[in-house]
Amino acid sequence: MKFSLQINEGPYQHQAADSAIQFTKAALAKGHEIFRVFFYHDGVNNATRLAIPPQDDRNITAEWVALQKEHNLDLVVCIAAAQRRGLIDEDEMTRQGKDANNISEGFRISGLGQLIEAGIEADRLIVFGA
C-alpha cells in the first residue's frame, strides 16, 4: 500500500517527530511504499543539518537521511513554513540574499501543492503532530 505522512512538529519538543520515524520504518519493513513525507508547521525543523544532539540520544534528522538514502524517500519541506522559521536551502539563500543555509541533504523544499498531491496519490495519509 502507498502511504503519505504529514509531520507538524519539530524534533525533540514533541514525540510526533519520533512517532513518524518509527511508523515509517515499520511501514517500510512491512513492504509498504512511502509516497512522500511532507514537513509542515514546525515540522520543517526536522530538516536542519546543523543539529548536534547529545551523543547518547537519537539524531532525528540523521535517521531521516539514512531512510531517505536506503529507500529513496521523497522528503518535502514546505517552503512557506520553512521560510518563516529560518530553514533554507542554497537556492533560497541566494535568492533571498542570506549568508548561510541549513537544509540537510535528502530533503527538498517545495510548495503546499505537494501535500495535496501526497493526499491524492497515496492510499492513506497519516498526520503526526501536537
Binding site: 515499520a26 492510499d123 492513506r124 503532530g129
Partner: protein
C-alpha cells in the same frame, strides 16, 4: 467505511480524547499513542469512558505504554499493538483521522 482515529494527548490534560469519542462512529477504531496511552490505563477518573464507548475498538501502542512505565495498568478490552500493528491498522481502515 471505517476510520482509524489516533489520539496522542493525555485524557487528564486535554479534551482531545473526549472530542474523539464524541465523533467516532460505531465500528471505527481508536488507537492511543504517545501521551494518549494513559487513557488505556485502569483505576482512574477516565477509565469508564472506554467501557461506555459501545461499538468502538480500542488499541494502544505498546512501545508508548512501556516507555511510560504503565504497561501493568492496562485496562481490559484494549488491544496492544507495536508500530507494525499501527501500520496494519492504517492499512485495514479506509482513512485516518489524527486528533491533534
Amino acid at each position: 467505511m471505517a476510520l482509524l482515529h489516533t489520539v496522542n494527548k493525555s485524557p487528564f490534560e486535554s479534551n482531545t480524547f473526549d472530542a474523539c469519542l464524541g465523533l467516532a462512529k460505531s465500528g471505527s477504531t481508536v488507537l492511543l499513542i504517545e501521551d494518549g496511552v494513559y487513557a488505556a490505563t485502569t483505576g482512574n477518573s477516565v477509565a469508564d469512558k472506554i467501557k461506555n464507548a459501545a461499538g468502538i475498538n480500542f488499541c494502544v501502542l505498546g512501545p508508548d505504554l512501556q516507555a511510560r512505565g504503565v504497561e501493568e495498568k492496562l485496562a481490559e478490552g484494549i488491544k496492544v499493538v507495536d508500530y507494525e500493528g499501527f501500520v496494519d491498522l492504517v492499512a485495514e481502515h479506509d482513512a485516518v483521522q489524527a486528533w491533534l
